[in-house]
């Protein structure tokens, strides 16, 4: 499979280069075209052996400017040669060397070369698939025990949490990405978790779904199944993180409330025994109604305080029950995975239509510039007879 792709990528490159050789004048092409094609073939083979597609891409980046500049130079040289070889007579009947004709030819050549190259690069570039999982998130404050409140930074905070080590490290561990990506991209050398995390973050995109509480978790990969698997793993890891942090929060809250509850119970007990002592001291009957006697006033004040304390104690108990109820709510209440990621049907990158369109626009612009320069040069500089020079 790899060998076939190797052959295909090299064969396509060679075919394109062979076609691009048409940019040179026919005489130059006839004399050196096969040798140039052979040299490109050798360079392409070396590049592929070095680091496959990326080196081949770099070779194209080196070869294309070389091709454009040297083809223009050879065209201009051929033009000067024709003038010295009495081609002027022929050009009177069919003048293909006027600045306008040169402009049109150079424009077309540059435009077509750029367009073809943009198309070729678009097809050579590795394809990337995207998969999106969507999760519904609720703020932890929106519980039975607490009053709901608006937090303007809630979504941004959750974005940062999703991209944090707290969530992504467990995804890396779960899918064994250190080993898998080491094998895939680094010749079998396992990656460090930090490096894998860096790559994972580059492939992760988060976006809020407008006017909802949903977050779209999108992952890009050259393998469509891997993209879906990672997106789902991130959604699950985030949900688990939220569930566990919420459970910890509630457990801590219940502990604090229970400590308060116990402290209040002790207070009540002390107050009850104090009240009983006072009652016996003042000789007040247990079922006596409240009186306005100044002597008994401390007793009745203490009794009122005790009633308030008991009421607070009962309220605290209700609060504890409410928090416990919160803790028993369904585990996915804070984060709910509403859409699981599915493997993409078609690659999202490169955007072939856009790339080819941009290639056409760039080709048009470069063609105009190159055409204008060549036409001006042809109009300005005549043949340089008898002057010996070596190539630049």
């Amino acid at each position: 499979m790899t060998k076939n792709f190797n052959n295909r990528a090299l064969a396509v490159s060679q075919k394109i280069y062979g076609w691009l050789l048409r940019a040179y004048p026919p005489a130059h092409r006839a004399a050196y075209g096969p040798a140039m094609a052979q040299l490109f073939r050798d360079q392409g083979r070396d590049a592929w052996n070095e680091s496959k597609g990326w080196s081949l891409f770099k070779l194209w980046l080196r070869v294309l400017p070389d091709l454009v500049s040297t083809s223009i130079r050879e065209r201009l040289a051929a033009l000067n040669e024709r003038k010295t070889m009495n081609d002027k007579l022929a050009s009177l009947t069919h003048d293909r060397t006027t600045p306008t004709a040169i402009f049109i030819r150079v424009f077309l050549a540059v435009f077509l070369i750029t367009l073809i190259v943009a198309t070729a690069i678009t097809f050579i570039l590795p394809e990337s698939y995207a998969s999106t999982a969507r999760v519904k998130v609720e703020s932890d404050a929106a519980s039975v025990a607490a009053q709901p409140s608006y937090d303007p930074y809630f979504i941004q905070t959750e974005f940062e949490i999703i991209q944090s080590q707290l969530v992504l490290n467990s995804v890396i561990d779960k899918l064994k990405l250190n080993v898998a990506w080491g094998k895939k991209y680094f010749a079998g050398e396992p990656l460090t978790t930090g490096r894998t995390l860096e790559i994972l973050k580059q492939r992760l995109q988060l976006a809020p779904v407008r006017n909802t509480k949903l977050i779209a978790i999108t992952v890009y990969s050259d393998d469509k199944n891997e993209a879906a698997q990672i997106a789902n793993a991130i959604a699950e890891s985030y949900r688990d993180y939220r569930v566990s942090s919420r459970a910890k929060l509630l457990a801590n809250g219940i502990d604090v409330l229970q400590q308060q509850y116990q402290a209040q119970a002790a207070q009540i007990q002390t107050a009850q025994s104090d009240l009983e002592s006072l009652r016996q001291q003042l000789k007040i009957a247990g079922d006596a109604a409240a009186s306005q006697s100044p002597q008994e006033q401390p007793y009745w004040d203490k009794k009122r305080n005790l009633s308030q304390l008991i009421m607070l104690h009962e309220l605290l108990n209700s609060k504890i029950e409410a928090v416990k109820m919160d803790a028993q709510l369904p585990k996915n209440a804070a984060v709910q995975i509403v859409d699981r990621a599915e493997p993409g049907r078609a690659p999202v990158k490169p955007n072939k239509t856009l790339n080819i369109f941009l290639g056409a626009v760039a080709g048009g612009f470069l063609g105009l510039v190159a055409g204008a320069i060549c036409a001006l040069a042809a109009a300005k500089f005549g043949p340089r007879e008898g002057k010996q020079s070596l190539p630049a």
């Binding site: 050196y32 040798a35 040299l39 490109f40 070389d66 091709l67 040297t70 010996q388 070596l390 190539p391």
Partner: protein
């Protein structure tokens, strides 16, 4: 083929591409790919000539009769017989020597001004 009436000194200074191609051929006849590889090796990969530059240079050097095409093959069994080999002409050798001397003089001058150290 008529001998060129060119004085080697009149062709100096050479462009880096021309000098490197002549320098590569000073080591014996080579085909285009071997020239390109040798230039890359001599320059630590800083100069990687594309096919257009290499064969444009070769063409002009052939026209200036500083190099010529060779019909001989080092070993036909080991090589692709479609490859074209080139070698220096007598004038080409004089030109590359003259350019190397010129570089040596420049290096000596720079050394005299203590811009570079002595070779180890």
């Amino acid at each position: 083929m008529a001998k060129p009436k060119t004085d080697p000194e009149s062709l100096l200074p050479l462009t880096p591409a021309v000098f490197h191609v002549l320098l590569a051929l000073a080591g014996g006849e080579r085909h285009g790919y071997a020239i390109m590889q040798e230039v890359a090796e001599h320059t630590d990969g800083q100069i990687k000539m594309g096919p257009g530059t290499l064969y444009g240079t070769v063409k002009r050097l052939l026209e200036a009769q500083l190099i010529e095409e060779s019909d001989e093959r080092p070993d036909p069994h080991l090589d692709d017989d479609r490859r074209r080999y080139y070698r220096l002409t007598g004038v080409g050798e004089k030109v590359v020597r003259a350019e190397a001397r010129r570089y040596a003089e420049i290096v000596a001058l720079a050394r005299g001004k203590k811009l570079i150290g002595k070779p180890a």
